[in-house]
Symmetry: C2
């Protein structure tokens, strides 16, 4: 029961009781493919763990093209950190790419758990640290890797994306157009 939540919050300082308490605070929600979980301009009020399915975030660029900023896979935390933790409107939109199962918790309740369970704060600190490294790493890879290599890496890390997401959305995540990605795929297949 709610094993997924316990597995996400693994930390040496979190006891079984802590995990039970946290798990009990998350409510299950089924969303259909295409459901908008958080809309641009809204202030995020909920925090989600993705049990199954695929979620995507995107923004609009200076020319109003839709640019994918992240793909969220199973067992990942699905939030827009700036909006949720700074209580400001989100620049990004969250949308379910496939039917998905989410475990959600209101931000208020999340905060209470966070401050009342020391191990949870510790876990949170690690999460923020890890998140910072991942974000930095992605920025660097946009510079140091070619689009081809970024594509190969994404395919390796989240192969399930290919089965559900149009190339156009993958291309924008890689910083190129669908036309270019199509040409890259042709190159690779040789």
């Amino acid at each position: 029961m709610v094993e997924i939540i316990k597995s996400v919050y693994q930390h040496p300082l979190l006891s079984e009781e802590d995990l039970e308490k946290m798990a009990a605070s998350h409510k299950k929600e089924n969303v259909k493919k295409g459901t908008v979980i958080l809309k641009q301009e809204q202030v995020a009020n909920e925090y989600y763990i993705l049990e199954s399915g695929l979620v995507r975030s995107y923004v609009h660029d200076y020319d109003n093209n839709e640019i994918t900023t992240e793909f969220f896979a199973e067992n990942e935390i699905v939030i827009v950190p700036t909006s949720l933790f700074q209580r400001i409107p989100s620049q990004e939109t969250l949308v379910a790419v496939t039917d998905a199962v989410l475990w959600k918790i209101a931000f208020e309740e999340f905060q209470q758990l966070y401050h009342s369970i020391p191990g949870f704060s510790e876990w949170g600190r690690l999460w923020f640290t890890h998140q910072l490294f991942a974000t930095k790493q992605r920025s660097l890879e946009m510079i140091t890797k070619t689009a081809t290599n970024r594509y190969l890496k994404l395919m390796q890390e989240k192969p399930q994306i290919m089965q559900h997401v149009p190339l156009k959305q993958i291309a924008s995540y890689l910083g190129i157009t669908d036309t270019s990605l199509s040409r890259i795929r042709k190159e690779i297949s040789h």
Copy 2:
């Protein structure tokens, strides 16, 4: 005396004694323009606060061009977080753009202070959070703003850069070439 250090670590949970202790652990270092503070491939062992001067970080892209990843101004913390906190080789190089005054502390000692002074841990948590938001924000701005607007914003936020840094290094920070930046500047001046 070492007012700069105290001002950087401002936090309600840090007492005057805490700040004194922290300040006393930082050693002053004068570096000349052009000095390499951290080299690509090295594991960072020191943490710096920049009192005066300007520092730049850069990486090499897939085509071996030097790309500026950050400009550090006075009163900022000058580190490569991934290398320092994960103890792995840095992908980025840190170099003094002008003569600079740094206050440094060995990572080991930093860790000790960090874990022994509760207010310092709290401060650190805020720093990580803020750093994550800033990094995310920069990624988003590379998408949502035009190069012209990114240039205008940089000039507004860190005007001192113009006086010391060649256009080529500014251009690479903005994700364009010096040729393009030169054309943008021409446009703007009308």
